[in-house]
């Protein structure tokens, strides 16, 4: 059974609205071991100061499209963590 090489990847994480306020920032770089999922990015963010106020499974996007918690992330991806949408 092949084992994925555990090389690090770096993704850019964007925070918005109430989440940006909780974390005190709107963007950061996060390094993760491969393979990594959206859920791994969220776990990382929730361990940062102010991150505990985020829900365990927030709405997320990967490269400008909605993404599921189990979706893989790749090096260089733009991952957005989205507070409840309120457009319209």
């Amino acid at each position: 059974m092949p084992v994925a090489a555990s090389t690090d990847i770096t993704v850019r994480v964007l925070l918005f609205a109430s989440y940006a306020e909780s974390l005190g920032r709107e963007a950061l770089e996060v390094s993760l071991s491969q393979p990594a999922s959206i859920a791994d990015v969220v776990s990382h963010i929730r361990r940062l100061p102010g991150g505990a106020s985020l829900p365990p499974k927030p709405l997320c996007a990967r490269n400008l499209a909605h993404a599921g918690q189990d979706d893989r992330v790749a090096d260089g991806d733009e991952i957005a963590i989205l507070p409840p949408l309120a457009g319209g």
Partner: protein, 141 residues
Amino acid sequence: MTFLTSDPVELAPLLASVQSPARGGLSLFLGQVRDHHEGRAVVRLDYSAYGPMAEAECARIVAEAEQRWDVAVALRHRLGSLAVGDTAVAVVVASAHRADAFAACRHVIEEVKRRVPIWKREHYADGTLTWVDPTATLQHV
């Protein structure tokens, strides 16, 4: 096409962009800022967005509607500071068939609310403000 704007939403250019001599039925939806939310007096709203994704998601919603129905769709969402009565979102759908126009218009506004990364912060008459979370309440416009 740009779906987000910081200028007031004008209907005339949206209508012009979808009207044609073959499409005689137009269905429009306008969402305007209300003066109350959950019993609190609202004086102003700030809309913000994840701009690039919001544009992409609006484009996908419009394309899906134009594929599913025989319609032409225009969509505009305003960002920035809005006063009570200002138009926050406009959907304009033209079709040769009014049933299609109504169905597509309704679908587009529902999908915009469900999928487009836009947030609003309400400023109340008592000086406080809150990020609006539609999932936390049963009250929807």
